[in-house]
């Protein structure tokens, strides 16, 4: 057993005095005829995989934009959707997706020690850039979550537009909370509560699968529930999309106001033309707008104030604060039992006071951040309120830019598209007289203006 002292002891002594009490090892024997094996580890994912994924993303985005804006083919889009679902969903396991990348980017912006991989940056950035020029074609056929929901939407029922507006605020609030929690290194909530990723992985915790299943059930009847009422990346893309260079159009030429497309969008993105207001309505609208503008800062302050109270629930999400609370409860004798984390903590030398100090500092930090989150919620609410009171005149049926996910369902309902594709010879084959009249009436009213 001399080898122990020849090789190990100098090292133990170098580590002394700690090594005298901890870390002593039974020496590995020197065998006469047996070589000490090296541990075999399976290889990680290949180097080229991220490159391939990025390339696939670029190709898919380009194709989606081409299919939606130039080719105007719902079938091609659908095929691409299936392809994307297979590649980005099932093959890639769903991670890291553009939606989740929000959190990595937030963390990287705040925490200089976190080196964000280039792939994640590109997954976050490329859809944004494409959306800036072509609208939400990413959502249409590239995003695996979108693709999944697109495909399961069997029988869609229409959500009333006012409800759509309200629920449409949730993504912004979710975005704010997700950024806050990610930037503080607390949690990646978007990933934690992603309903579909368990399907892509073909496994997951029972509760997550159940949750996903419920989402699927909802998705059968309500088009893209996640995209519309939760997706924080969709919220960003919606904003970008509203200033995009090009965008999906329902009709390839001019709208003839036939109203055939009116109910075709399962996502409630097609807006009917407006009817001019009476002067009295216009006046009250103006007054309301001014009142809202005045109330806006109050709104911000109120919600910010409210947000500061969130410091405890928010900070609870942080492991260190949770640990400090558990330890405290144990010390007061009100904890029912110890946890692994508290056991682990007690087995080390770290003083309890030190933990408390750090936890309290963190909690106070969350108090401030909660204020910001509250202000953001107030801002979102205020903006929506103001947005609702603003009126823009619309004369045609068209896809609302921020909500339209460029799925291409509406194309074929347009007589002009049918005409373009050569399915019909004349618009009157499709459009009843009544509707034609409407168009003329409208024209008349237009000329009056």
């Amino acid at each position: 057993m001399m080898w122990f002292f020849r090789y190990l002891l100098p090292w133990i002594l170098a580590m002394a005095p700690a090594a005298l009490t901890a870390g002593e090892l039974i020496p590995t024997p020197e065998f006469s005829g047996h070589a000490i094996p090296t541990t075999e580890f399976p290889e990680g994912p290949a180097d080229w995989r991220p490159i391939l994924d990025t390339a696939a993303l670029v190709v898919a985005l380009s194709l989606a934009s081409y299919f939606a804006l130039v080719n105007r083919s719902r079938r091609n889009l659908l095929l691409l959707t299936v392809g994307s679902l297979c590649w980005f969903g099932f093959w890639r396991g769903g991670c890291v997706c553009s939606i989740g990348a929000i959190q990595n980017v937030s963390l990287a912006a705040v925490d200089p020690t976190y080196a964000i991989p280039v792939t994640i940056i590109l997954f976050f950035l490329l859809p944004l850039v494409f959306t800036l020029f072509f609208g939400r074609t990413f959502c249409a056929a590239v995003c695996p979550l979108g693709a999944f929901q697109e495909l399961i939407c069997v029988r869609s029922i229409r959500v009333p537009r006012w409800l759509d507006h309200c629920l449409g605020l949730i993504p912004y609030i979710y975005l704010g909370a997700a950024v806050l929690l990610a930037a503080t290194g607390t949690a990646f909530v978007i990933c934690r509560y992603d309903p579909f990723v368990a399907f892509f992985r073909l496994s997951g915790s029972a509760n997550m699968l159940l949750f996903g299943g419920c989402f699927v059930l909802v998705g059968l009847f309500i088009g893209r529930p996640y995209c519309r009422y939760l997706c924080p990346y969709g919220a960003i893309l919606g904003l970008v999309s509203s200033v995009s260079k090009w965008h999906v159009r329902i009709t390839p030429t001019d709208c003839i106001q036939c109203r055939l497309c009116e109910n075709t969008c399962p996502y409630g993105a097609i807006q009917p033309p407006t009817i001019d207001q009476s002067p009295a309505d216009r006046e009250s609208g103006k007054r309301r707008f001014v009142a809202l503008l005045v109330l806006f800062p109050l709104f911000l302050v109120f919600f910010a104030w409210l947000g500061t109270f969130l410091k405890v629930p928010l900070s609870r999400l942080h492991p260190e604060v949770r640990l400090a609370e558990q330890i405290r409860e144990e010390e007061l004798g009100i904890a029912e039992k110890t946890t692994d984390a508290s056991d682990a903590f007690r087995n080390t030398d770290r003083p309890v006071m030190d933990l408390y100090k750090s936890a309290i500092a963190r909690q106070n930090h969350f108090g401030r951040l909660g204020g910001w989150l509250g202000a953001w919620v107030g801002f979102v609410f205020g903006c929506k309120w103001i947005h609702l009171s603003l009126r823009r005149r619309r004369t045609d049926y068209r896809a609302e830019r921020s909500n339209c996910v460029a799925c291409g369902r509406c194309y074929r309902y347009c007589p002009n598209e049918q005409l373009r594709l050569g399915f019909i010879q004349d618009i009157s084959e499709l459009v009843p007289e009544e509707n034609g009249n409407l168009k003329n009436e409208d024209r008349r009213s237009k000329t009056k203006d």
Binding site: G33, F41, G93, C95, A115, L125, V197, R201, A344
Partner: protein, 200 residues
């Protein structure tokens, strides 16, 4: 009419420039983020074995049916003990491989006799990754001795979730992101030993 078109053109141009500028600004910000740390390679999840307490959450909290985390043997650190506390249940009756004496619930540890020396018998213990479910029982057992058994995320199985569910459940924050070119970690104590044996 030409005036209108001109205005429209001008406005369109302005919009385009804004878009390009916005895109460029965003890109450069992200370029900064990417470039700040120099090497921005892919990151993978891994367990820092010095922080792992062997709680067993790896077996239950992985999104995979069978956890991506498995026990590994660091041979240069192993004492090749006859009475291996990682292999034998503390209530063993005989030092043999029969079921009632084994600690591992799936029999994933293979015990091989190597040689007998100065009255001591030495055995090699190898983990069969196909059977290992990552319950960390052997890791806790081995910690009573050398601690050569430890937990690692197996990258052929790990899906690389953006937020690792085991990391969230980990009581000691032992999970960390490691660069893809060095995807496995070693115990601090093992480093000199592994070096020593690899030189030989």
């Amino acid at each position: 009419m030409p005036n209108a078109t001109q205005t429209k053109n001008r406005r369109g141009f302005l919009g385009d420039s804004m878009r390009v500028a916005g895109a460029l600004a965003t890109c450069s910000f992200f370029g900064y983020l990417a470039g700040r740390k120099g090497r921005n390679r892919e990151l993978l999840w891994q367990i820092d074995p010095d922080k792992c307490m062997g709680c067993g959450n790896c077996a239950t909290h992985c999104v995979l049916d069978i956890s991506a985390v498995k026990a590994v043997q660091c041979f240069p650190m192993c004492g090749y003990c006859d009475i291996c506390t990682g292999y034998f249940d503390v209530g063993y009756t005989e030092l043999d491989t029969s079921a009632e004496n084994q600690l591992c619930p799936t029999s994933a540890i293979v015990r091989t006799f190597i040689e007998s020396k100065a009255g001591q018998r030495f055995y090699e213990y190898t983990i069969d990754p196909a059977k290992c479910i990552g319950c960390a029982k052997c890791v806790k057992g081995c910690a009573l001795m050398n601690g050569s058994l430890y937990m690692q995320v197996m990258h052929d199985r790990c899906l690389g979730c953006n937020e690792c569910s085991i990391a969230v459940a980990c009581p000691t924050e032992a999970f960390c992101r490691v660069p893809a070119e060095a995807p496995y970690l070693m115990k601090r104590q093992a480093i000199p030993l592994v070096k020593k044996f690899s030189i030989r």
